[in-house]
Subunit: 211 residues, 2 copies
């Protein structure tokens, strides 16, 4: 376990990426995959795949590859995605609605159990996922009663920090922020600020190389 506790952040991010094609392979019934093929499916260097997977023990067979089921199980265990997590979301504009509808969350065991908005024209509205939009004043009580573990922020920039503080005051220690501003949290909490334009900058760099 001591080796696992030192897995670097970029490796963790790639583990999540590796799990995507592995899920498809399990569904197809493919028993074994080589690092080269897995690398190609993820758009990553094969040496990088082997190096990343080496962090949690040797279970590839040289010249043959990895046991698909076993590899996926190990990755899910490390990413703690072998259990369900309860999410709430604040800000039910286009972004919030798109996030609640996104199939990837459900597929990975992330379940939205509450949706909040401060706009009285939105509260009371029923979403296609079955949730009803609640006023932000309900956050403290609902976070407790629904055992919310992760707070997702999809508000305009101007409200993101205030909402983050409300969620942390309600006892949530893990935040995922989609508002286009950096949200800050004290040491006891973890916050991931998602910036769509970062993905675009990776692309632009590659584009400029081929132009």
């Amino acid at each position: 376990m001591s080796k696992e506790s030192k897995i670097p952040g970029p490796t963790i991010e790639r583990l999540a990426l590796y799990s995507r094609p592995l899920e498809a392979l399990v569904e197809n019934g493919t028993p074994v995959i080589s690092s080269g093929k897995l690398a190609k499916m993820c758009g990553v260097n094969p040496a990088q795949v082997r190096k990343d997977l080496a962090y949690f023990g040797e279970f590839g067979v040289r010249g043959v590859g990895y046991d698909v089921r076993d590899l996926l199980k190990q990755i899910k265990r490390i990413l703690v995605s072998d259990r369900e997590w309860n999410l709430c979301i604040v800000g039910m504009g286009h972004l919030g609605t798109a996030l609640v509808e996104n199939e990837n969350f459900r597929k990975r065991g992330y379940r939205f159990v509450a949706a909040f908005d401060s706009d009285p024209r939105k509260t009371g509205k029923r979403l296609s996922c079955g949730l009803t939009i609640l006023p932000t004043a309900d956050i403290p009580e609902k976070v407790r009663s629904l055992r919310v573990e992760v707070g997702v922020i999809a508000t305009p920039s101007s409200q993101a920090q205030r909402v983050a503080d409300m969620l942390m005051d309600a006892g949530i220690r893990t935040l995922l922020n989609f508002a286009p501003i950096q949200v800050r949290a004290p040491q006891c909490c973890a916050v991931e600020n998602v910036d769509f334009s970062v993905s675009l900058e990776n692309l632009a760099y590659h584009l400029a190389k081929v132009l």
Copy 2:
């Protein structure tokens, strides 16, 4: 330039992250920043910041820090974000609308010049950004006339690959896919598949450690 051409992907991703607080510092008129402070603002290890910045030459002063303006300029040059890029988007549901409205794109010089949808109930509608939603049949002509360089996909999963193929047929070689499915492209093209749940898996890993 040979050293720069070998900058690894994860470093490139972090360069984009570093640029965010640097922009704020330039606006505030802060002249110099230490690697420690920059690291803290980005939630990255200071040694990692120094290592990443070393890829493009030494311009930090030991015990003092980096010239904020100079550092930002270098990063923007490497990320080719010192110019504007023309984007089009396909799929104007909640996700597409949220992306077009997202301030981060505009701030970084990514300009949506066309928005498409296959639903005749949506085409002709005017967006708050000033664009009018066009039918997907217009893609080939508009990509050419508006010199679109990057195609953003925000359709349901079932249509993502078909739309990707349409965009590539129209001459676009760089795609950013937000549909929750892996889109494939031939060698000549670059595609970045954005999966929101990857950020959540990073968080879940950290959460499990503090639980």
